[in-house]
């Protein structure tokens, strides 16, 4: 019955529109956000992912687009996978930090050609399992996955039941952890904190009490400066060993993070598209901005301003 109501709504809307536009085809994959380009302002819509690194990219890009090039920038919080879809439909113009989604790349970049690669971000990302360094120093053998079961007892929490806790963060991140735990026969339970912020809160809490923990984490990440962590060695990564998500039994790769742009935007986006294509910075740069946002609780805008003021040579090159 809900369908009936929706259909009624749809029929009413569609018929009124048909009257207006005649019976032409309407391509819903070519629709910008209704809030874009208002009042003749040139607008760029950037997608923001929930982790701080992505916020740092967007903050700096937004600052430069607004202050140097005079654009109006809309940001939309979308996770990576839906961002691909939105990018393809033109609802956002750019995704500045992608951690590798081969399936989507095949579909949108190679087959449909609605998205183009915008080049390297300049940062290399790596996902892995980490234990706090204070614990790794006491028990050096914990850094090999084969010994993890020995420590399962110590990693137990209220949420993980009788097993050790492997803490994962946001549901939107790239992860094979459930399959890994199963395929490597580990006595661990994957517990999702629900968001990266929640995960960071937990990690800090553990660190304050010097408790052991095992967590999904990634580089580059500003938190390493606050809570030093050591990676646990998983079976080495080989090309294609993560092809079947059910049977993964190897570590995560080192991924040069990529930017992606909507194909039309890349062609017609003028200065903004050029800037976003040229946007390339280092891990240190990103961490600097991230740390300001996350740890010093600066507004992303202020953090971007501070970085931009002190790194003129870097970003001047992007503007050409």
């Amino acid at each position: 019955m809900r369908i009936r109501i929706r259909t009624t709504a749809l029929v009413a809307g569609a018929s009124s529109l048909l009257l207006l536009t005649g019976c032409g085809a309407a391509d819903m994959t070519k629709q910008a956000s209704p809030f874009a380009n208002a009042q003749g302002a040139r607008t760029v819509t950037l997608s923001v992912q929930s982790w701080v690194g992505a916020q740092a990219n967007v903050a700096v890009a937004q600052y430069l687009l607004e202050k140097e090039l005079g654009y109006r920038v809309d940001t939309v919080q979308i996770d990576e996978v839906p961002a691909w879809d939105a990018l393809s439909q033109g609802r956002v113009d750019a995704l500045l930090e992608d951690w590798g989604h081969p399936e989507e790349e095949q579909r949108y970049v190679k087959d449909k050609k609605t998205i183009v690669n915008g080049g390297d971000l300049g940062v290399t990302g790596h996902i892995g399992w980490y234990v706090p360094t204070y614990f790794a120093k006491e028990h050096p053998d914990v850094t090999d996955w084969k010994n993890l079961n020995k420590y399962a007892e110590q990693m137990r929490t209220a949420e993980s039941g009788g097993k050790g806790q492997l803490m994962d963060g946001s549901p939107s991140y790239v992860t094979n952890d459930k399959a890994l735990v199963e395929n490597l026969d580990l006595d661990y339970q994957v517990v999702f904190a629900g968001s990266e912020a929640a995960q960071i809160t937990q990690i800090k809490q553990f660190a304050k009490e010097q408790k052991p923990f095992l967590t999904y984490w990634y580089e580059p990440q500003w938190l390493f400066k606050k809570v030093p962590m050591t990676e646990v060695k998983l079976p080495a990564y080989k090309e294609g060993c993560d092809a079947d998500p059910e049977k993964v039994a190897c570590a995560y790769p080192h991924t040069p993070l990529q930017k992606y742009l909507n194909a039309d935007f890349a062609k017609d986006g003028g200065e903004a598209a050029a800037l976003l294509k040229n946007f390339k910075w280092t891990t240190e740069d990103q961490n600097e901005v991230s740390l300001m946002i996350a740890e010093q609780k600066m507004a992303p805008e202020e953090a971007a301003k501070k970085w931009v003021d002190s790194h003129e040579s870097t970003w001047k090159a992007w503007l050409s």
Binding site: L10, L17, A25, M28, P34, F35, A38, Q77, A193, G194
Partner: protein, 648 residues
């Protein structure tokens, strides 16, 4: 927000107790036959695998097909594409109009409208509310939300009024629509998001359509109610004058139903706002998106800066439409047109003045940065109240204790129960207070959850709901009883309840994250706060409606206040209390599901996960399970009267 139709208290005859015993006996007999069979065929414990249907493959294929064909298939090109375009076009038009009016124009127009329909005080309030949105640095997001709302509300009103007209005029339509609309009102907003995303992808069109589906039912219900409730004698008089059916409708029935129509509009607006905010999860943009972004980084200050405008909008919209409804009863004033013309001219003048001065955008220097001080306060709280407070412990400690001592045992207990016993309990509860029909619906809904293969997460969600409902009822009944006994307390309480009842569900997540961190406990806390006002209100009303004669006679027999309460008031207010339980359960479920955003896990998390990973199969299955759970909880707590009551 949800409608509360308080039923007149009726005395409970002893026969009912007998009947309940009969029903339970019959159920026990049925169980004695079926359970050993089920136990022998499929093992006890959690829901047997043999009875689940894996929908992942077909759903994934559907979603892939849609993505691959969205730009080529005629269905999308000639149908969904136009709808999507129409929505984008409308929202954009409204948004551009709002921007063109500038902040001064919008504020002036809003205040003048409020002045015309609701008087000076509300006009001032409206102006202040809009200015506050600007000062918080939220002008543009507020306008985006407003644009989305205007389109969604207009569409909801049209759709709702048409459906309501159909149900109001035809008995057959009414019989078909009523149960559906009743059910739609008890479902959590989150469940509506996924089907539209499947078709329209993430973005504004999906958000607007989800909002329409969510906000149209109250309009339809109240329209039908208004048309059916029209005074029979007036209608007969009109008929005897020889009016045609259409004349009767236009000159008698619709004008007579004005009050219900406006109440419908009010509820539609409130529900649309609530949904427009939640729809930020599927890319609605605007204020909700700011809250969502801030919650993702546990930035309470920023979340509050976006949350306050939402609350202000909600209060203003509610008061103004509410006042419009009340004013309708009065005689229309003479020369009613002139002030409207004046208001229009004044608004346009302000807008043009703003344009000439070149002050269309909210000036950047006029900003009140509340994020920083709030975050500092939250940090202080986390440092000092969070844990290790002497004697009482910190809020995080309470949350941890609540999780370990209440939520964990409850969840483990539910999951440990053999699946058939869960079905039996549901049947027994639903049947004792309802009819065999409600019981059957409840059991089937619960079984559907098992078939969908999400038995365990659903029971996890259920455990959170039960814990939250228990806390809500204890607090709500206590407050309600206190309010019923003391007029002063009730007067103090009323404005607080008013504000709390108009706030969108999303806003409640902000303070609980600050206080309790992340996890299941904060989700439960938000649910309690959200459901409490309705429960308090219904309890107070129910107790106050108790026949004064009965109370007086009890008093004259020398009963103490406690005895009066226990032996006269509470039994006589049984109906109202049951209704309070029902409302409490429905409202709690809605928020526990949203709790998936702050680490509540279970079904809400699955929906968020589905949206985040583009894995619609997971999300849709979870969404369906939420629908079933909502249906089951409503039926289990639904007193018979609500169902058998006709027309009302």
């Amino acid at each position: 927000m949800a409608t509360i139709t308080a039923t007149a208290p009726r005395t409970v005859p002893g026969v009912l107790k007998h009947r309940a015993a009969h029903k339970l006996l019959l159920l026990a007999v049925v169980a004695a036959v079926l359970v050993p069979l089920a136990d022998a065929r499929w093992a006890s414990g959690t829901w047997p695998d043999a009875l689940t249907v894996d929908l992942t493959d077909p759903l994934t294929r559907t979603s892939d097909w849609i993505i691959d064909n969205r730009d080529s298939h005629p269905l999308f090109l000639y149908f969904f594409g136009h709808i999507s375009n129409a929505v984008v076009l409308c929202v954009r038009a409204v948004y551009l109009l709002l921007l063109a009016a500038g902040w001064a124009g919008v504020t002036a127009a809003a205040s003048l409208i409020a002045w015309r329909v609701a008087g000076l005080r509300l006009a001032a309030g409206t102006g202040v509310a809009f200015l506050a949105c600007g000062f918080l640095g939220m002008w543009i997001p507020t306008m985006q939300t407003l644009a989305l709302m205007v389109v969604a509300v207009l569409a909801s009103v049209v759709v709702g009024a048409l459906l309501g007209l159909a149900a109001g005029l035809s008995d057959r339509m009414d019989r078909m629509l009523r149960p559906v609309l009743d059910t739609m009102q008890v479902l959590p907003a989150f469940a509506y998001l996924l089907p539209v995303v499947l078709v329209f992808g993430i973005g504004v069109p999906a958000a607007v359509l989800a909002t329409v589906v969510y906000a149209a039912p109250p309009m339809a219900r109240l329209t039908a109610l208004g048309l059916r409730g029209a005074d029979k004698e007036v209608l007969e008089a009109v008929e005897s004058l020889g009016a045609t059916a259409r004349q009767r409708l236009l000159t008698a029935r619709i004008p007579l139903a004005r009050k219900e129509l406006l109440l419908g509009l009010n509820q539609t607006i409130m529900m649309a706002l609530s949904m427009a905010v939640i729809a930020s999860v599927i890319g609605a943009g605007g204020l909700g998106d700011r809250v969502y972004q801030a919650l993702a980084s546990v930035d309470v200050g920023a979340a509050l800066a976006a949350g306050i405008p939402i609350v202000l909008l909600a209060v203003v919209l509610d008061r103004v439409t509410g006042a419009a409804g009340e004013a309708l009863g009065d005689e229309p004033q003479p020369n009613g047109r002139a002030p409207w013309v004046f208001a229009l001219v004044a608004a346009v003048a302000v807008a043009v003045a703003g344009r000439l001065v070149g002050r269309l955008d909210w000036p950047e220097t006029w900003a009140l940065n509340i994020a920083e001080p709030v975050n500092r306060a939250v940090d202080w709280m986390t440092d000092h109240l969070y844990s290790g407070v002497p004697v009482i412990g910190g809020t995080a400690d309470w949350a941890a204790h609540f999780t370990t001592w209440v939520l964990d045992p409850l969840r483990d207990g539910l999951q440990w129960l053999p699946w058939w016993s869960v079905l039996l309990i549901v049947a027994a509860l639903a049947w004792t207070i309802g009819t065999w029909r409600t019981a059957l619906t409840a059991v089937l809904a619960m079984a559907a959850i098992g078939v969908l293969g999400v038995w365990n997460p659903s029971l996890d969600t259920l455990s959170q709901v039960l814990a939250a409902v228990a806390v809500t009822l204890v607090l709500g009944f206590a407050t309600g009883i206190a309010a019923a006994r003391s007029d002063r307390f009730e007067r103090l309480l009323r404005p607080v309840l008013d504000v709390f009842q108009t706030m969108p569900q999303f806003v409640y997540l902000i303070p609980v994250v600050a206080l309790f961190g992340v996890g299941r406990a904060p989700a439960v806390a938000a649910a309690v706060v959200y459901a409490l006002p309705a429960v308090v209100r219904i309890t107070t009303q129910g107790l106050r409606q108790v026949d004064p004669a009965a109370l007086e006679s009890a008093r004259s027999l020398g009963a103490t206040p406690a005895q009066q309460l226990r032996q006269v008031q509470l039994p006589l207010a049984r109906r109202a209390l049951l209704l309070a339980v029902n409302q409490g359960v429905v409202l709690v479920l809605a928020v526990v599901i949203i709790g998936g955003l702050v680490g509540g896990g279970a079904l809400g998390y699955d929906v968020v996960f589905g949206l985040a990973q583009g894995d619609l199969a997971t999300g849709l299955v979870a969404g369906a399970a939420i629908v079933c759970l909502g249906l089951m909880l409503d039926r289990v707590t639904q007193p018979t009267e609500r169902r058998t009551k006709k027309g009302a």
